[in-house]
Symmetry: C2
């Protein structure tokens, strides 16, 4: 018997065609050829995808569960993505809705518990902000980071747009910011973490991670849909002591359900924290999606972001619970000269919620 | 003055909101923060994205052209993707429709002319097929490849599902197939090329490319949306003598226009040939999309695929012209024992068209 894992697609179809459409997906995502041309029984029985269940969700949409053979994946997370949705991503009547991630492709991330231990944060939620805008020189970003850290935030991350631009090269920016944040930490006594954003090919990702490690940093950010699943897993496995924050850039969430992509696949790559656009911000995720995504991701730290304002702290923590980092970026920066005070107010609001 | 390049989005919106929505995208894809919180004039003038044009396409859709600062990209193709569509891919009212690829990110690929020279094919279109199904052992795939090559095909590629599975490890499969194809070439005198599929992280991509080079192969396949743009460019630049065929897996074409993703971005990574699902096959691209995609991609070789049958050779070559490889996979395999004869008929049909 072949071992299979179940993948769920949502398919737009009329009732008369759904069974044929479901089998077509099962074939496309396994052998990708007419079954009549396969003369090896082993392949027909053990490799061709199998339609396990079809449910009518109403309104012309069906949920289709397909069992794919584990043997087609091996241990490469890029190949997992390929078999989950490679060719079928090109069909616009199908959404990849869910999957049981095979054990051999699941990195175990310590996520939230490790971050609680390292920051000495027992129960409350975490606070975070982002260094912006694009175009600032390293000194300006370092100064901004210091002022936020003086307000007592838990995490300060690079904007995901910060890469290795000439106006702010990685190897200049990261040591400077690490230094000013370390200075603020000595002043506040609170172990604020700076999270640099790693970009580029695998060689560059590794070289930049090494610079960050040399600066004493133990949290880093990466965008798996841009860096590539295979390379991200090499990176997370080579630095097990680092917590990787997954950024959803290029997530194209209308076609791959974010509950799966961000909630399951990114943690499976070894990311210990997942950043995602929260409901009620400037992206379109529903509360139900956000709830399921966060639940799927744990023990990785859930990091809702994307237009959060200070006056939503209570509402969001009631919704997400405290195994959460609230990431307030642009709306904190609006405080201008009062950035330290606003950061402190943010830190206080979260701490206060943790005590109720 | 800052140098900018133009990116075109298609946005669903009502007429009253489109200007605000356009500016919101320009901000999201550049500084990603409230402009009111930016106190550096340099950043406001030279880094923030600029709405250059808005056209009403009718039916509630607008074309929005945004000028992004070249300086935000640097020379990393992953960062290009990030700035083109990183966060905006998460909004489901927007499609990334087109972009002027900045010069520093355009690899120059010799594409079709180089392939014509190497295969001694002066004017006609190329023929190609794929080794399938998943699950066959290397010996069976090698035998199949030999029989296709004996029919005189120009290219025989790995199915994109073939990775490094235990039933067909790359380092066993590729040398065996290279050997049987070389044997067929000695028999036919026609320089058929075998195209292995490279998968995995950058280290694995390089190691597998080296195995292929050691087998004397000068054509290879890679899926940029899975391998990661940055890593693919490192690979293509490190092997300038190899023609890389870009596979569209994970292209999710409903959100990024295939004319851009496959037609422009994949060649810009240094891929000398682009495989794409043709109109009239089992994928949903229109003739207009296929025509523009192929025109954009050239001089990279246009490789329509996805359900092509032998009786469509004339129609497709009339449509695409001869700087094309027709890739017939599953439908050729249906010939079973007559695979060599069917391959030969395919080769003849294309050669015949070249003479008209």
């Amino acid at each position: 018997m072949t071992e299979r894992f179940t993948v769920t697609y949502h398919v737009r179809s009329d009732p008369a065609s759904i069974e044929a459409r479901a089998w077509a997906i099962a074939v496309e995502q396994s052998v990708e050829m007419p079954l009549a041309a396969i003369d090896e029984p082993e392949v027909l029985f053990n490799i061709v995808g199998k339609v396990e269940q079809i449910d009518d969700l109403g309104a012309g949409t069906f949920s289709v569960c397909i069992g794919l053979a584990l043997a087609t994946i091996g241990d490469d997370p890029g190949q997992l993505l390929n078999m989950l949705f490679g060719n079928t991503s090109l069909h616009d009547d199908v959404i990849l809705r869910d999957a049981v991630i095979p054990d051999q492709l699941c990195s175990t991330t310590k996520g939230t518990p490790l971050l609680r231990q390292r920051l000495g944060v027992a129960r409350r939620a975490f606070t975070g902000s982002a260094l912006k805008p694009q175009g600032l020189a390293p000194e300006r970003l370092a100064e901004l980071a210091e002022r936020m850290a003086l307000g007592g935030l838990d995490f300060i991350k690079d904007d995901h747009g910060l890469a290795n631009q000439t106006y702010s090269p990685f190897d200049v920016r990261v040591p400077q910011i690490a230094e000013t944040v370390a200075r603020a930490v000595r002043s506040t006594g609170h172990p604020t973490r700076y999270i640099p954003s790693l970009t580029g090919d695998l060689d560059q990702l590794r070289a930049r991670a090494k610079i960050a490690v040399d600066c004493g940093l133990d949290c880093m950010m990466v965008a798996p849909m841009i860096a590539g699943f295979s390379s991200v897993r090499v990176l997370t496995q080579s630095l097990p002591e680092v917590t990787f924050f997954a950024h959803p850039a290029m997530g194209g969430a209308a076609r791959i359900a974010p509950e799966l992509l961000i909630g399951k696949l990114f943690p499976a790559l070894g990311c210990g924290a997942v950043i995602f656009p929260t409901y009620g911000g400037r992206f379109g995720y529903s509360p139900a999606t956000c709830h399921e995504l966060a639940a799927n991701a744990r023990p990785a730290l859930a990091v809702p972001a994307g237009g959060i304002t200070l006056n939503r702290v209570t509402e969001l923590l009631d919704f997400y619970g405290s195994d959460t980092m609230l990431l307030i970026g642009g709306n904190l920066l609006l405080a201008g000269d009062r950035i330290t005070e606003e950061s402190a107010a943010f830190a206080r609001a979260v701490a206060l919620h943790g005590k109720t």
